[in-house]
Subunit: 343 residues, 2 copies
């Protein structure tokens, strides 16, 4: 077993607490044997955190920079003490500990993005070089440490960072879809936004021409964009909070059969029942929406006596970053959609 | 397809709203073609609801009875307007609509318990015969309606109602465990209370002598009771909110291998990470605890880069009631444990 894969030894003064929960991390060098050292280029601060800082100190770059430096100096990580959230970073590999699993895959100098939150990443800022207020980004000089369990993606050289990051942000979703879609299935994606588009493309790929893909969204525009590039067989304009309406629309579109798999990528709450009622008995719902309520799903399925397998959308699956970037490469229309909508 | 399996036609004045969410149901006779009519004997009011009523009107049976009658008269169902919760009922089958799925399985006169909430069950109370304040139960004369999708259990004649109801209350848990346990697995159950004991017994059964069952609980007493009757191979006294401690205890008990399946039946919050860190890469966690936070599970697994399948514990699986009652029958020691602890 790798020693300290979760970075417990970097937590200051709180035994048995994971880095995410810790008040303070010890970010100093040297890099330990199961760690990866990163020469940081920029921090993408979580939107809620950046807004809180801006609301607090004002929009002036120097003030924002000072506040960020203060947080990182105090906590050894960029975790906003008010929102609790972090963000992610871009940089180059500087050193790979002999027991870090990336040894053999990455090499010094590779550009990577971390896919774990800054809220658990030891960080030292030597200098803030620029604050890009409109995109929540700060360019810095400094170093960060990735634990053996910390996920990352190698940044591709065939697309701009912004495009890669937009897709990597939600790459767990298509990767999980790939595990559950089999040819012949009827698959519905509820919420046809950024993650929804990737899920639709992945589902269509895994169906290998046998089966059916439904896109459901409240936005006519989002649906038109997806239909226009052939990402779905049927587009249904529905409000996902109206469970019965959604069920009826799906039932009609599937000749009463309903779906084998429903993927919930909606950005609003109260959409559990629409997902549950839209699957066949014995079907599966994958909940990616962070607005999912555990009890609404558990009690909802029981209340309607539905034998449905309900999965919590894990943001991580091995190979999820490559799978997602490959999806953009193999589907030029999807890439274009991303370039126009999400970059 | 069965017409109106969810009882939408019983909702008064709100189109497309499910009975659970509806302000008012129409509980009048006759029984419709996809419905089951029940001659009600007693209502087991949800604990939170009963307490609210008691706190509001006082502990006097007549006052509690009056308040319950008032709610049911107004809403056509026993859904406490403050807590939103219901409970379940016991009664005898009075009529089975020609399109209700129980036709063929049940017969008029059978005693059943509903396993869907009173909060979605059309109900008429003609008379309240007794209020049992200490056990949140009221005996009534009246009728209730079960929709085609509404789950129920036939009450067994070889055990007291109280015992059957205690087990049926959590019967979804062992039924789901039965789907995931295969011989050779290492299975941990976090929270060795009522549902935990059933899950342990079911897991042990499905391992067929190959594999290992771990019981984890904060209570020495609960663990001793389970170990005493051979329901687990290893009992670990841990606080499930302390993720790292739990992981270390499980790691030690499994020679560093961790578990294939973790079943979370703890009654407290903040136990997601303990579950996630205790499974192997590629393993599965079933969350039954209603204190589970969706985001803590989803972001937690991502934060530690764990490839874990996470399931929302559906309270319903076909055959769950019979499976659970059979478990009590085939395991006299488990039955005894239930009789002493949960009846
Ligand atoms: N667990 C994970 O790893 C993971 C991975 C990917 C995504 N997610 C989560 O999934 C959710 C979606 O993310 P995203 O980036 O795809 O967001 P997004 O691009 O904003 O897409 C959400 C879509 O849902 C639509 N929508 C909003 N209200 C709706 C309603 N009432 N009925 C039907 N559709 C509605 C939106 O339409 P409008 O544009 O008209 O509002 C939009 O098209 C977020 O909660 C995200 O955190 C989690
Ligand atoms: N989705 C479903 O259909 C379904 C089915 C079954 C159960 N459930 C849910 O599962 C949960 C458990 O139900 P239950 O009836 O089994 O409850 P229970 O009998 O109270 O069992 C819970 C157990 O957890 C233990 N516990 C409490 N705090 C703990 C901690 N910090 N660390 C470790 N163990 C701890 C309790 O010990 P103490 O006795 O010492 O407090 C108790 O033994 C509830 O939330 C229930 O609603 C859901």
């Amino acid at each position: 077993m790798i020693s300290d894969p979760y970075g417990l030894s970097r937590v200051v003064g709180e035994k048995g607490v994971l880095p995410q929960r810790a008040r303070k991390l010890e970010p100093s060098l040297p890099c330990r044997e199961a760690e990866l050292l990163i020469d940081v280029e920029s921090l993408n601060i979580d939107a809620a955190s950046f807004k809180q800082i801006k609301d607090d100190v004002g929009a002036e770059p120097a003030k924002i920079a000072a506040r960020i430096q203060e947080i990182v100096r105090e906590r050894g990580k960029m975790q906003n003490p008010v929102t609790g959230s972090g963000g992610m970073l871009l940089g180059r590999v500087k050193e790979i500990g002999p027991k870090h699993p990336a040894r053999g895959t990455l090499k010094v100098g590779d550009r990577i993005a971390t896919l774990v939150s800054l809220s658990l990443t030891p960080l030292v800022i030597e200098e803030i070089k620029a604050v890009h207020v409109e995109i929540d980004r700060v360019d810095i000089r400094g170093h960060a440490i990735l634990f053996a369990s910390g996920i990352y993606a190698k940044l591709p050289s065939d697309m701009p960072d912004t495009l890669a990051l937009a897709a990597l942000d939600v790459c767990g979703a298509p990767a999980l879809v790939a595990r559950y879609v089999k040819p012949g299935m009827t698959v519905a994606v509820l919420g046809a936004g950024k993650s929804g588009a990737l899920c639709l493309a992945q589902a269509r790929k895994d169906l290998k021409g046998q089966g059916k893909v439904l896109a459901l969204d409240i936005s006519e525009k989002a649906l038109a964009a997806l239909s226009g590039i052939g990402l779905c067989d049927t587009a249904l304009k529905v409000d996902a909070t109206q469970a019965v309406d959604v069920m009826e629309a799906v039932s009609q579109a599937t000749g009463g059969a309903l779906c084998d798999l429903v993927v919930n990528c909606a950005s609003v709450g109260n959409t559990e029942m629409a997902s549950i009622l839209s699957v066949k008995d014995g079907g599966t719902v994958i909940f990616f929406s962070m607005a999912t309520s555990f009890t609404a799903a558990a009690l909802g399925a029981e209340g309607v006596g539905k034998d449905v397998t309900m999965l919590v959308g894990n943001g991580y699956a091995p190979g999820h970053a490559d799978l997602t970037l490959d999806l953009l490469r193999s589907e030029p229309a999807l890439r274009k959609l991303f370039e126009t909508r999400y970059v």
